[in-house]
Homo-oligomer: 231 residues x 2
Amino acid sequence: MEERKYLPHIAYDSVIFGFSGNQLKILIMKYHNTGLFALPGGFVKIDEDLNTAVRRGLKERTGLDNIYLEQFYTFGDVSRYQAGAMKTILEANGHHVPENYWMLDRFISVAYYALINYEKVVPKPDALSDSCDWYSLDKLPPLMQDHNQIVEKALQTLRDNLERKLVSVNLLPSLFTMNELQKVYEAILGEKLRRTTFQRKILSLNILDRHDKQYSGKAHKAPYLYSFKEK
Amino acid sequence: MEERKYLPHIAYDSVIFGFSGNQLKILIMKYHNTGLFALPGGFVKIDEDLNTAVRRGLKERTGLDNIYLEQFYTFGDVSRYQAGAMKTILEANGHHVPENYWMLDRFISVAYYALINYEKVVPKPDALSDSCDWYSLDKLPPLMQDHNQIVEKALQTLRDNLERKLVSVNLLPSLFTMNELQKVYEAILGEKLRRTTFQRKILSLNILDRHDKQYSGKAHKAPYLYSFKEK
DNA sequence: TTATTATTGTCACAAATTGAGACAATAACT
DNA sequence: AGTTATTGTCTCAATTTGTGACAATAATAA
């Protein structure tokens, strides 16, 4: 019986950030035949660590292991509970939904954000959804339940952690220019930064190795490529 | 039936900080006839918001409403699950514990920290415990399950939030001296601060009102009393 | 009354960090 | 060779922080 496989009343949702076209983007699922959008999420198996469950879900959605992951809040209001929406999704997939089906119960959801290299991912929908795609933060569709709030809080936490946790390592390819790094910071903070101050600050942290220049074919001086130091 | 009253598999634990004798202290419960120590915690009613459940528990333990409260992490490892300890506690209280009793199941626990005015509280044990008392952070007994880790993470989060959230408002009486405020910062950070720098920094934030001097009877200049500005 | 003692409020100066702009050094194109 | 856009670096000012000095007290002791 399926409901014996997972812990009842407990779910997780993940805000998966990537960086492309100078913008922060996140992965959003669209459910079959319903027009409903939601964050990628899932349930915790009876004998599985919570963090393990989340990594399992991320692997399924992105194909990646060893993703940078932070838990940031657990949402537990009764008002999250909307049996109707979940029933719609299940029935639109041709499932027969019994009375008191466990997925229609009230859920408390532990929310995580993940940071991944946009280039390395081909997002995969799950059985209930027909797409799993990147959306710019400023062009999000209305999401199910409280998922828009969850995204808001994820972004806020990411901002708070920006300097403390050297977050940008995970959003860039291994080689990048100073300008690209600055663009990541600007996208996360939602504000322009001063070029010279930013460059001086980052270099003074001594976390970068400098490599060859990158010739873009454009008519101007070529920037150095950098990588984050090992360890 | 009791297990219908609460959400299964979901609990909360609270790290309740107070400040006294220049030290940070937290509330610890001791269970009847078992020698087991634990953080104050509880369960969430079927139709109750998670945050409401935690405030309800705090009210019972401290008698206070409107407590400063922050959720900081949700602990969900399978290894937290130790049916034995819980069974011991229940049986030491004369409960008959049925097979598969809900309280013996695996729990995921949402952890909060609270900041309260030490003076205003007379801690109250619950039905299962014979004491609920203040312990200095550096003299904690070994706690049940992963509760020592939970305390560690609470303190870490408190430190990270110290400047950002003006945490000390909640740990002091409404009137206090600059020196007392400094002692709170030092207790949280676990390090000495320089008097003049601290004073200048705090005053420049423009968050304090200055009141009359406080004459202690000691042979030296009397310090001003301060209060936090009403928003 | 006059030292003495411990602590407090404030200032002064040095050191470090950040803000803001200037400028020469490129790549590639005209 | 001249033009353009961008980059790496430097300079100077403005701000913040580190560090110590010092005068102004409350109570006590002489």
